[in-house]
Amino acid sequence: MPEAFDYSIVDEALAKCGAKQSSIIAILQTIQEHYHYLPEEVFPYLAAKLDMSEARIYSVATFYENFSLEKKGKYVIKFCDGTACHVRGSVPILERVRSELGVTAQKKTTDDQLFTIETVSCLGACGLAPVMTVNDEVHPAMTPDKAMEVIYSLKVKEDAR
C-alpha cells in the first residue's frame, strides 16, 4: 500500500498563487520548489481544483524546460549551454563529468540519487564562462579538472555523513 500523498504543499501553493487556471505555472513552480520535481499525484488533484484537464496541466508542465517530472539528485549540477560557455570549452567539461559519474543526456541522475547533471540555457554569467552551478550556486571559469574537484568534495562530504 503506497503512503497517502500529503497535499498540504499543493494547497499552500494554490493559496499562495491563486486557485485559477492562469496561475498554473506559478503553482507548479511553487510545488517544484518544495519537491524539486512534480510528483504525479499532484496532477489529478490540481485538475480537480482548477477545473482544468489533467492532460492540459501535463502539457504545460512538459512544455517548459524547468519543470521536472522525475525525482532529482541531492545536488543538481547544471552546465551552461550558452554561446560564451560553448566557445570557451564547456563541452569537454560536461563530457568528462558525465562519463565519470556514469550519467548521460537521458539518464541524468546518478544511481545513488546524489547528483543530477543537466545543461541549462545561458545563465547570463558569460563573463565567467564556462560556468557550472551546483544547486544554483555559480562556479565560474570551470575546467574538467576543476569541475571534478567540486564534485569530489561534495562526495567526500556526503561519505562523511
Partner: protein
C-alpha cells in the same frame, strides 16, 4: 546613534517631494561610499562574502558604517552598498570607492583588510587592485578604456546605487518622471513625447514605441495591460538582467508611465526563472513601491491606480516572442499565435497590451524628464539613443556596455572590448543571438543601428555580441545556434519544428565529416522555406545564423563537406589525435587521465590511441609532460 528618517506612505505629490528632498540630503551628505557589485557575475565570484567581510571589518574597527539611507545625519559615516552589475564582469568581483571613483578589480576576501586599512582609514588607493593594461594603471573607473568610450543612459545607475533601496533611487531623482507624467502631462502628451523621441523597441525589431503606445491608447477595452518582456533568452545576452538587478525601479517607473499613458491598471513583468537575483530585486522593488504608495490604488491622490505583478518564466526561449509570452502569463503553453490580431489590440487576457522589453521601459523615464529633444541628440537620426550590448566570446573585456546607436563594431570590439583574447585573429561577431547573423571584418566599420543592420540581413536583436576568432569554426557556430533553436522550437508550426530539426541534422553530419554533396544547397533551400513560412518571428529568423555563415564563409562549409577538414581546427570529429611514438616515454599518465579508456600501451613503451573510442576531449594533450600527443 543617528535617528531614522521616517518614511511613511506617500499620499500626495507633496509627500513624494518631501521624501525626495530628505533622501537627497541624506544621500549627498554620505560622502564616502563603498559599492560592492552585487550582479550575478560578481556574486558568483564571491562578492557577497566580500561585502560581509568589509562590513565586519569596518565595524570591528569602530568605523561608522551605514548600509541604509534612512538614517541621518550621514556626516562622517561610510555608506556600504550592494549595487547591480557594473558591467565589467571579466574583472569581477568589483568594488567601487566614492567619492574618488576608484574601481577595484578581481577583489578577493583576503583583500578586504587592506581596503579597510588603506582606503577607508587613510583614503589611499590600493594600486594592486586597480585595473591595468600592461604597465599603465587606471585607478578611476571612468578612465578605464572599457568605460571611457561608453555613454551610459540606461545603465547610468547600474553599479552606482544600492539596487535594493527605493530611497536611494528617489534620492537621485527617481520617480520624478512618473510624478511629472501623472500630474503635469496629459496621457496624449506622454504618448506624443515618446513618439517624438523616436524611441524604438530595444527587444529586437526596433518597432517605434510611441506608435505601439498610441495603438493601445486608442484600442477599445475595459482592461489594458502593460507587459515587460524580461525573458532574455538569447545565449550570450544579459543586458536586461543587469538592468533588472541593478536599477529595478527605473524599469518599474517606465511601466508606470506607460500605464498612465495608455490607461492601464495592471502590469506584468515576465522574467526568466534563470535570473533568480533579478526576480528577488524586482519583487523587493515592487514591495517597496507598494509600501510607499507609488503602486496601488489612487496613487498620490491622482485617481490613477496601478499594480505590477511578476510572472516567472519556466524555461522556454520562445516566450520571448510576444504572443507566446502573454500565453505563458495566462498559464498556457508558450505557443505563439497567428496575427492579426496584434498584441496591441488583443494581447494579455485578450485585452489591449503594451509589450516592451526591459531596456525600452528603462529608457522611458529619462525621455519624460529630459524631453524628446535630449534623446534625439544621442545616436543616429533614425535610431536615436543608446543601446546596451553584452560583449562576450573571444574578447579581452567581456561585459556589459552601452554605446550610442551608430557606434561601429570596430570601436566596440577593439576600443571598448580591448581586442581579441589570446592569439586568435578577429573572424566574426554574432549579433542578435540565435535569431541574428554573423558579421565579418568587412562590416567592422558599419554603424550599428536598426536600419543599417536590417539592410545587411542582420538585426540588433536583444543585443548580444559574441566575438569569434580564427580558431572558431563557423560551421560549428551555425550548428550550435541551430541546436539551440531546434531545442527551443515550440513545435507548433511545421517549418520550424521539422525544418530546424533537418537543418541541425545536416549541420551535424557536416561537422562530423559525413556531409554530402548538395547539403549546403539543401540548407539554403530549407532556410528559404523556414524564413518565409514559419509562424512567428523566432521561427522566421531561426535560419539566420546558417544563412549568414554560408554567405560569408561558404568555402569553410565546402572544405568540411568535400575535404572532410575543419580549417579552424575546432570540429572535434574531424580532428585526429595521435601519440608521437618517438616522443612518448610510456609513462601512462595520459591513459590514466583518458575519460573513455581510449589510450593503452605498455609502461615505458609508446602508447597509442584508439580513435574509435576517443572523444577528442583533449585531456591527454593537457596531461602529457613531453608534448608527445598531437592533434591534426
Amino acid at each position: 546613534m543617528s535617528a531614522a528618517i521616517k518614511t511613511k506612505a506617500i499620499k500626495s505629490r507633496k509627500d513624494l517631494q518631501n521624501l525626495r528632498e530628505a533622501m537627497t540630503k541624506a544621500y549627498t551628505s554620505q560622502t564616502s561610499k563603498i559599492i560592492v557589485c552585487g550582479g550575478t557575475g560578481c556574486v558568483a565570484g564571491g562578492s557577497l562574502k566580500i561585502y560581509e567581510n568589509l562590513k565586519a571589518q569596518m565595524e570591528n574597527n569602530g568605523l561608522n558604517v551605514e548600509v541604509s539611507l534612512e538614517k541621518e545625519p550621514h556626516d562622517n559615516s561610510i555608506g556600504l552598498k550592494k549595487s547591480g552589475c557594473h558591467g565589467f564582469c571579466e574583472m569581477g568581483p568589483l568594488v567601487r570607492i566614492e567619492p574618488q571613483g576608484w574601481l577595484y578589480t578581481k577583489v578577493k576576501v583576503d583583500d578586504c583588510n587592506e581596503i579597510v586599512e588603506k582606503t577607508i582609514k587613510k583614503g589611499e588607493c590600493v594600486d594592486r587592485l586597480a585595473y591595468r593594461i600592461g604597465d599603465e594603471i587606471y585607478r578611476k573607473q571612468e578612465e578605464i578604456p572599457f568605460y571611457k568610450q561608453q555613454i551610459r543612459v540606461v545603465l547610468e545607475h547600474c553599479g552606482k546605487i544600492d539596487a535594493d533601496s527605493i530611497n536611494e533611487y528617489i534620492a537621485i531623482g527617481g520617480y520624478e518622471a512618473f510624478e511629472k507624467a501623472l500630474f503635469d502631462m496629459q496621457p496624449d502628451d506622454i504618448v506624443s513625447e515618446i513618439s517624438l523621441s523616436m524611441l524604438r523597441g530595444r527587444g529586437g525589431g526596433g518597432f517605434p514605441t510611441g506608435k505601439k503606445w498610441e495603438q493601445v491608447r486608442r484600442a477599445k477595452g475595459e482592461r489594458k495591460y502593460i507587459v515587460c518582456n524580461g525573458d532574455e533568452g538569447d545565449p550570450g545576452a544579459f543586458m536586461d538582467r543587469s538592468i533588472m538587478e541593478g536599477d529595478p525601479h527605473r524599469m518599474l517607473e517606465g511601466m508606470m508611465i506607460a500605464g498612465v499613458a495608455v490607461g492601464a491598471q495592471e502590469g506584468y513583468i515576465y522574467v526568466r526563472a534563470e535570473y533568480p537575483l533579478a526576480v528577488r530585486r524586482l519583487m523587493n522593488a515592487i514591495a517597496q513601491a507598494e509600501e510607499l504608495g507609488l503602486l496601488g490604488d489612487d496613487i498620490m491622490g491622482s485617481g490613477f491606480s496601478f499594480r505590477i505583478y511578476i510572472a516567472k518564466g519556466a524555461g522556454a526561449f520562445v516566450c520571448g516572442e510576444g504572443s507566446a509570452l502573454t500565453a505563458s502569463i495566462e498559464g498556457k503553453r508558450g505557443f505563439p499565435r497567428v496575427k492579426p490580431p496584434r498584441t496591441t489590440e488583443n494581447g494579455l487576457f485578450d485585452s489591449p497590451t503594451v509589450l516592451n522589453n526591459v531596456e525600452t521601459f528603462a529608457t522611458v523615464s529619462q525621455i519624460i524628464s529630459k524631453g524628446a529633444k535630449w534623446y534625439l541628440s544621442i545616436g543616429t537620426p533614425t535610431s536615436p539613443g543608446t543601446k546596451a550590448f553584452a560583449l562576450t566570446g573571444n574578447i579581452t573585456n567581456t561585459g556589459l556596455i552601452e554605446v550610442p546607436m551608430g557606434t561601429t563594431l570596430r570601436k566596440i570590439i577593439f576600443d571598448i572590448g580591448g581586442g581579441m583574447r589570446g592569439d586568435g585573429e578577429f573572424k566574426a561577431v554574432q549579433i542578435g543571438g540565435p535569431s541574428g547573423a554573423c558579421l565579418t571584418k568587412d562590416h567592422l566599420d558599419l554603424p550599428l543601428d536598426f536600419d543599417t543592420l536590417k539592410k545587411i540581413g542582420a538585426m540588433i536583436g536583444s543585443g548580444g555580441l559574441v566575438v569569434m576568432d580564427s580558431h572558431t569554426c563557423m560551421v560549428e557556430v551555425a550548428r550550435f545556434f541551430m541546436h539551440f533553436t531546434q531545442n527551443e522550437s515550440c513545435g507548433k508550426c511545421v517549418p520550424c519544428r521539422e525544418g530546424t530539426k533537418r537543418m541541425l541534422e545536416i549541420l551535424e553530419r557536416i561537422v562530423e565529416g559525413n556531409g554530402n554533396e548538395g547539403d549546403i544547397e539543401l540548407l539554403e533551400e530549407l532556410s528559404d522555406t523556414i524564413s518565409n513560412t514559419a509562424l512567428c518571428g523566432l521561427g522566421k529568423s531561426a535560419p539566420n545564423p546558417v544563412v549568414s555563415t554560408i554567405s560569408n564563409f561558404r568555402e569553410e562549409y565546402e572544405t568540411h563537406v568535400y575535404e572532410k577538414k575543419c580549417p579552424a581546427g575546432q570540429c572535434q570529429k574531424l580532428k585526429k589525435i595521435y601519440i608521437d611514438p618517438l616522443t612518448c616515454k610510456g609513462c601512462s599518465a595520459c591513459s590514466r587521465k583518458c575519460p573513455v579508456g581510449a589510450i593503452s600501451g605498455k609502461i615505458k613503451e609508446p602508447f597509442s590511441i584508439d580513435l574509435t573510442k576517443c572523444i577528442r576531449c583533449g585531456s591527454c594533450i593537457a596531461t602529457c609532460k613531453f608534448n608527445a600527443i598531437k592533434e591534426v
